[in-house]
Symmetry: C2
Subunit: 123 residues, 2 copies
Amino acid sequence: MISFDNFIMEDSSPIYLQILLYIKREIIAGTVKDGDELPSRRMLSALLGVNPNTVQKSYKMLEDEALIISHSGAKSNVSLDEEKKKKIRQEVLHADAETAVRTLKQMGVTKEEAFALISEYWD
Amino acid sequence: MISFDNFIMEDSSPIYLQILLYIKREIIAGTVKDGDELPSRRMLSALLGVNPNTVQKSYKMLEDEALIISHSGAKSNVSLDEEKKKKIRQEVLHADAETAVRTLKQMGVTKEEAFALISEYWD
DNA sequence: TAAACCGTATTAGTCGACTAATACACTTTT
DNA sequence: AAAAGTGTATTAGTCGACTAATACGGTTTA
């Protein structure tokens, strides 16, 4: 069962996108594997304090990307192979790194200062 | 006059916040200094292709934080001292670094891999 | 001085994100 | 078989972000 212990809700970004990204990042980390069971829409919505429809929207998008499979009436499961993993790794990791570099560079931070910052906030 | 050449509009985040953050990051970079002139609401909205009210909202929030001063009828100007600069540096740089580290760590990236990633996307 | 720009404000409307309540058919569990 | 949980769908409504059009008075500029 996928854990949402480390999920932190931001504002200024749609919740359904945050849930979507959280799951994708867990897939990249390898903590979520092929066949893993997802929490039900109702359970997760109760856990996060959001509406079931919001979770449903996240799950629907994941299903449209063929990253999960929903069996009507039963639990939903993760569906992964190496190709899919490589694809979302490229997609999410790329975007996150690019965004981080772009904002840091805009603020005039040098590469060495960036390393120092990363180190500082890593622990 | 503040330049918006490097401004890239994202979706999934309110435009008025993106403009606000862009200006704060330019202040941190030092490319925007005390007394600098801001583009007028109408000019910037035309440049970015958004509604004048959206820009007005960004400027109003900057004025509420005393980072800019608006003279009714005339141009608006940046208002900075060392204390303000230190404060927003702490606010924005802190948040950006923290977000970057949190997402990278969630994806199972090690500190060394993070350095390699930053290096890769830096140029 | 007159034109052109400026900041500010108001009103109305659209649209997406999200909530709320409910229903139905299917699967699993007891 | 019955109960509980599940995915899916529908309808209605709220709320914030954003657009659109317009107006007014002050400042700058030619």
